[in-house]
C-alpha cells in the first residue's frame, strides 16, 4: 500500500479509530492490532512475502530467547550467526543472486571458461533491506548485551513489521523502538497535530516535488544519448530533487503516521542539501542507515582508530557496502566508492566533524563561505547521483562525458520544457521553505503555528490544493526497490 494512495487514506483512519477506541484498554491487544494492520498493509502489495517477515520474526525472536540464558561465548556466536545468516541469506538470495551469477559467469568467460547458468526471475520483496537490518539490530544488540531480549512475541512482531516504517524505514534500532511497545501509549494532541503536519509536508515532497522531477529525470536519463550536456546536467538536478523528495517525503509520512499512534521514530533526514561538506551530508542523509552501518560495521571494524590504511580501508568498506545495500548493480558500488573518495580527505585531515550545527544558525542568510561550501558539496552530490541513477557504469560515464563537453553551454532541450519550468519553480519554492525551516525537525513544523486559526487553515489548504493541482504522475517510492 502506498502512502500517497486512496487505499492508505482509508486504511489509516480505520486503524487509528480501532487503535485508540477499541483496543486502547489492553496493551497486548493494541500491539496485536499494530502487527495485524502491518501485515495487512504489507500483504496489500503481495501477501506471499508475508511469510518471509513472519519467518524472520520467529527466527530472531527465538535466537533472542536462546541468547538470554546462554553464557557460553561460542554458542552465543553460533546463535548470532544463525540470525545473521538467515536474514542476510534471504536478502542475498532475493536481491543479489542474479548479480553474483551474472558477474561470475562474465568473470569465467573472461578467462576462457564458458559457464551456463540460468538467472532466476526473482521478485524483490518490498522493504526486505529495511526490515532485515531492523531485526538484525535486535539480535546484535542482545549479543552485545546492550538489550534485554523480549518475552513478548506480539510486541516483537509489531516492532519488526510496524507499518509506517516497514517498507522504507527509518531503520529503527530495537533499543529505541521496541521499548515503546512495552509502554502504554497515551494520546498526545500536540504530537498528533505535529504528526499530521509532517505527513502533509511529506506528501508535498513526494507528490509535488519527487513525482514531477521524476518525469523529467526519467525522460532525460533514458534518452541521454540524444541529449546535449546542459539537458543532462538538468536531468541530474531533477534526479537530485526527485530522490530527496521521494525518500525524505516517505520518512516524513512514516514519522508523522507513527506520531498519530504515540510512537517516536528516529529522524532520517536533516536538510542534507544544506551541508557544507560531505561528512556533514552523511550525518544528514538517510541517518538511520548511516548510523546503522557506523554502529554495526564501521566501529566493529575499528572505525577511525588505527593507522591511515585502517581508516582508508574502513571508509571504503562502509561506503561500498552502503552503496551495495541500495541495489545489485555496479553503479551503486561506484556511487559508494565515489562518496568514500569525497569523504576520505576530511577524515584523514581530521576535518570530518567540522560542521555539527545547522548552517547559518539563527540567521536568514548564510555567509559567502557557507554558501560556497554548500554549493560545492551539492555539486559533488549531484555528480555522484549520476552513478546512482544510471543503468550501468558505461551509461554513467557517457552521461558525464557529455555534461563535460561543449554542449553544456547549449540551451537545454527535451519534450515538455514548458511544464518542466513549473516543476523548476515549485522546486525553488520548496528549497526556500526548506531553508527557512532548516532548524526544525521538518520544514513546516513551526510554520504559521502562531497564526490565527483561519489563516493557519488557509495555509494547510494551500498546501493541499498545491498537492492536488500539481501532483505529478504517480510513481512508486524509489526506496521500495532497495
Amino acid at each position: 500500500m502506498l502512502f500517497n494512495s486512496i487505499d492508505f487514506a482509508i486504511f489509516l483512519p480505520i486503524v487509528f479509530i480501532l487503535y485508540w477506541f477499541v483496543t486502547d484498554k489492553n496493551l497486548k491487544l493494541q500491539n496485536f492490532l499494530i502487527a495485524a494492520a502491518s501485515y495487512f498493509f504489507y500483504g496489500w502489495w503481495d501477501w506471499r512475502f508475508l511469510s518471509l517477515i513472519l519467518f524472520s520474526t520467529i527466527v530472531d525472536y527465538t535466537v533472542g530467547q536462546k541468547l538470554r540464558n546462554e553464557e557460553n561465548q561460542l554458542k552465543r556466536k553460533v546463535l548470532l550467526w544463525t540470525s545473521v545468516l538467515v536474514n542476510l541469506g534471504f536478502l542475498g538470495f532475493f536481491k543479489y543472486y542474479n548479480f553474483f551469477l551474472d558477474n561470475f559467469t562474465t568473470a569465467f568467460s573472461f578467462f576462457g571458461t564458458e559457464i551456463k547458468a540460468n538467472s532466476l526471475n526473482i521478485i524483490l520483496p518490498v522493504g526486505i533491506s529495511f526490515y532485515t537490518f531492523q531485526t538484525l539490530s535486535y539480535t546484535i544488540d542482545i549479543y552485545n548485551r546492550k538489550l534485554e531480549p523480549t518475552k513478548d512475541f506480539i510486541a516483537f512482531s509489531a516492532f519488526v513489521s510496524f507499518f509506517p516504517q516497514l517498507v522504507a524505514g527509518p531503520i529503527e534500532r530495537a533499543t529505541h523502538l521496541l521499548p515503546q511497545f512495552y509502554k502504554k501509549r497515551t494520546f498526545d494532541y500536540q504530537k498528533a497535530v505535529d504528526g499530521m503536519r509532517q505527513i502533509l509536508w511529506g506528501l508535498f515532497k513526494k507528490v509535488v516535488i519527487a513525482d514531477n522531477c521524476a518525469e523529467y529525470a526519467n525522460q532525460i536519463f533514458n534518452n541521454s544519448a540524444d541529449m546535449n550536456g546542459s539537458t543532462l546536467a538538468l536531468g541530474a538536478l531533477f534526479f537530485t530533487f526527485q530522490i530527496y523528495g521521494d525518500f525524505s517525503g516517505y520518512s516524513d509520512i512514516a514519522i508523522g503516521t507513527s506520531r498519530l499512534f504515540g510512537f517516536d521514530l528516529m529522524r532520517n533526514f536533516n536538510f542534507p542539501y544544506f551541508s557544507r561538506d560531505i561528512a556533514e551530508f552523511w550525518r544528514r542523509w538517510h541517518i538511520s542507515l548511516s548510523t546503522w552501518f557506523r554502529d554495526y560495521l564501521y566501529i566493529p571494524l575499528g572505525g577511525s582508530r588505527g593507522g591511515i590504511w585502517m581508516k582508508v580501508r574502513n571508509t571504503f568498506i562502509i561506503f561500498i557496502v552502503s552503496g551495495f545495500w541500495h541495489g545489485a548493480n555496479w553503479t551503486f558500488i561506484a556511487w559508494g566508492a565515489l562518496n568514500a573518495i569525497y569523504f576520505l580527505p576530511l577524515l584523514l585531515t581530521n576535518n570530518n566533524r567540522n560542521h555539527l550545527e545547522t548552517v547559518a544558525q539563527g540567521k536568514l542568510f548564510p555567509s559567502i563561505t557557507e554558501l560556497s561550501s554548500m554549493l560545492l558539496t551539492f555539486g559533488l552530490t549531484v555528480f555522484a547521483w549520476i552513478f546512482f541513477r544510471a543503468e550501468n557504469i558505461g551509461h554513467a560515464l557517457n552521461y558525464i562525458s557529455k555534461i563535460l563537453s561543449i554542449s553544456l553551454f547549449e540551451t537545454p532541450k527535451f519534450s515538455g520544457m514548458r511544464n518542466a519550468l513549473i516543476t523548476i519553480i515549485l522546486t525553488c519554492i520548496f528549497v526556500l521553505i526548506e531553508w527557512l525551516g532548516r532548524e526544525q525537525q521538518f520544514a513546516i513544523q513551526n510554520f504559521g503555528i502562531k497564526w490565527k486559526r483561519p489563516l493557519r487553515y488557509a495555509m494547510y489548504y494551500s498546501i493541499i490544493i498545491t498537492i492536488f493541482w500539481f501532483a505529478g504522475k504517480e510513481q512508486q517510492f524509489i526506496y521500495f526497490q532497495f
Binding site: Y189, M196, V207, D226, Y460, F468
Partner: protein
C-alpha cells in the same frame, strides 16, 4: 482526543467533498475502480471508452489477445488502423491497434503480447510521422531497450481527480451521467463510452459514436470540424505534424529489423500508409514542409519487397473511391474508407483475399448504413 477528531473531521470535510465528487463520477462510469477481466472473458460485446485512463487500452488489447487462440489476422498500429473490423474477414481476426506509436514498438509488443500465438498475417498501419525524425527520433535507448508493458489503472491518481474537476467546470459532462440510460445490449465502461458513446468494441475496433452523429448532423462542434484542427497542426508544425524533409534512416533500419523478425517467425506482413483527408493532403503538399512523406513509400517498399511482403500507399483517398465525406477527421478515415481500402487491396492481388470474401465485402459496402458506418 475528542478535540483532535472533531478538528480533523471539520478540516477534512471540504477535502472529502473535493475528492468524493470526482470519485463518484469515476466509479459510476467504470472509468476507475472497475476490473475488465470478467468482461473480457464473458461479454459478447462491449464499448470500453476511457477518458483519463487511455493507458488501459494496451492492457485491454493484451488481455483480449491472451484470451484468444492463435488468430489468422491481427491488425496493428496506431489509431489509424482501428477501423478494420472482424466482420470484414472470414477468418479469425482481432484489431490490436492503438498499441503502437513508433516503429520501434512493433517487436516489443509482439514479443510481449503474442506469446507463441503469432498470426498468419499482420495487417499494419505505418503512420507517416513514424518516419519523421522530428516527431520520432528513435533514440538509441529506444531501439535497444524498449519494452512494451501494459498496465491497468484501477484507482484514480490525483491528476485524474483533478482532470475530472476541470472537465466538470467547463461542462464537458455533468450529473446526467448518473441517470443516463445505457444501451441495453451493450456493456459500457468509461466516461468516454458513456458520455461520448465512443470506445473499443469486442473485436478491438473503435466506434466514434458522438463524433459520427455530429458529422452526420453537420454540427460544427465536431472534433476537427472542417479539418480546422489539423490545419492548425500543419500551420504550427506540431502534434505529429512536425515538418521534415528527409525520411529518418533509423526508421527504415527499424522497419527492416521488424520485417526480418516477422519473416523468421513466419508472419506475413501487409502494411498500409494510412489516408489523409483530401483537403488535408493538399494543404500538406502546398506547405512544402513535408517532403519526407513523398519519399516514404519508395524507401520502405524496397524493404518490404526484400522480404516478399506488401506495402500499400493508401494516403490518397481517391485511389480507392473514398472521399472527404467519409473521413472522421483530417487523418482518420472511417469504416467505409477502410472497407473500400480492403476491397482495393484484394482486387489488386493482396494476400488478404485468402482471408475475406470479396463479394461479401462489396455487398457490405453497398448496404452501408451511412458514410461512416458499415456494420452494426
Amino acid at each position: 482526543m475528542k478535540k483532535f477528531i472533531t478538528k480533523t473531521i471539520v478540516f477534512s470535510i471540504p477535502m472529502l467533498v473535493f475528492f468524493l465528487i470526482p470519485a463518484s463520477f469515476l466509479y459510476t462510469s467504470g472509468e476507475n475502480y472497475k476490473s475488465i477481466e470478467g468482461i473480457i472473458k464473458s461479454a459478447p460485446n462491449y464499448l470500453i471508452g476511457y477518458a483519463y485512463n487511455e493507458g488501459n487500452y494496451k492492457y485491454l488489447k493484451y488481455r483480449e489477445l491472451e484470451n484468444r487462440k492463435a488468430l489468422s489476422v491481427i491488425a496493428l498500429g496506431s489509431s489509424r488502423a482501428l477501423q478494420f473490423r472482424d466482420k470484414m474477414f472470414n477468418k479469425s481476426f482481432y484489431n490490436a491497434a492503438y498499441t503502437i506509436s513508433s516503429i520501434s514498438d512493433f517487436i516489443p509488443f509482439m514479443k510481449f503480447s503474442l506469446n507463441n500465438k503469432n498470426p498468419e498475417v499482420l495487417l499494419i498501419a505505418l503512420d507517416q510521422w513514424m518516419f519523421n525524425k522530428n516527431w520520432d527520433d528513435l533514440s538509441e535507448y529506444d531501439l535497444k531497450n524498449k519494452v512494451w508493458h501494459p498496465s491497468f489503472t484501477k484507482k484514480p491518481s490525483f491528476s485524474t481527480l483533478r482532470s475530472v474537476w476541470g472537465d466538470l467546470l467547463i461542462g464537458k459532462y455533468g450529473f446526467e451521467i448518473f441517470t443516463k440510460k445505457k444501451h441495453d445490449a451493450l456493456i459500457q465502461i468509461g466516461l468516454n463510452s458513456i458520455v461520448n458513446n465512443t470506445g473499443f468494441r469486442k473485436d478491438g475496433s473503435i466506434y466514434y459514436g458522438k463524433q459520427i452523429k455530429k458529422l452526420l448532423d453537420d454540427d460544427n462542434t465536431a472534433n476537427d470540424y472542417d479539418y480546422l484542427d489539423t490545419y492548425s497542426r500543419i500551420e504550427d508544425g506540431n502534434r505529429r505534424f512536425q515538418y521534415g524533409s528527409q525520411v529518418n534512416d533509423k526508421s527504415i533500419e527499424s522497419l527492416n529489423h521488424f520485417l526480418s523478425y516477422c519473416k523468421s517467425n513466419n508472419i506475413y506482413v501487409v502494411a498500409i500508409l494510412p489516408p489523409f483527408a483530401n483537403k488535408v493532403a493538399i494543404k500538406l503538399d502546398l506547405s512544402g514542409k513535408y517532403s519526407y512523406m513523398d519519399k516514404i513509400f519508395y524507401k520502405s517498399n524496397a524493404v518490404f519487397k526484400r522480404y516478399g511482403f506488401e506495402l500499400w500507399d493508401m494516403t490518397n483517398l481517391n485511389k480507392y473511391g473514398s472521399n472527404d465525406s467519409e473521413t472522421i477527421d483530417g487523418f482518420h478515415g472511417g469504416e467505409v474508407t477502410y472497407l473500400r481500402m480492403l476491397i482495393y487491396m484484394i482486387e489488386n492481388g493482396s494476400i488478404l483475399k485468402n482471408y475475406t470474401n470479396l463479394n461479401h465485402l462489396k455487398n457490405d459496402l453497398n448496404k452501408r448504413k451511412n458514410n461512416y458506418i458499415v456494420y452494426d
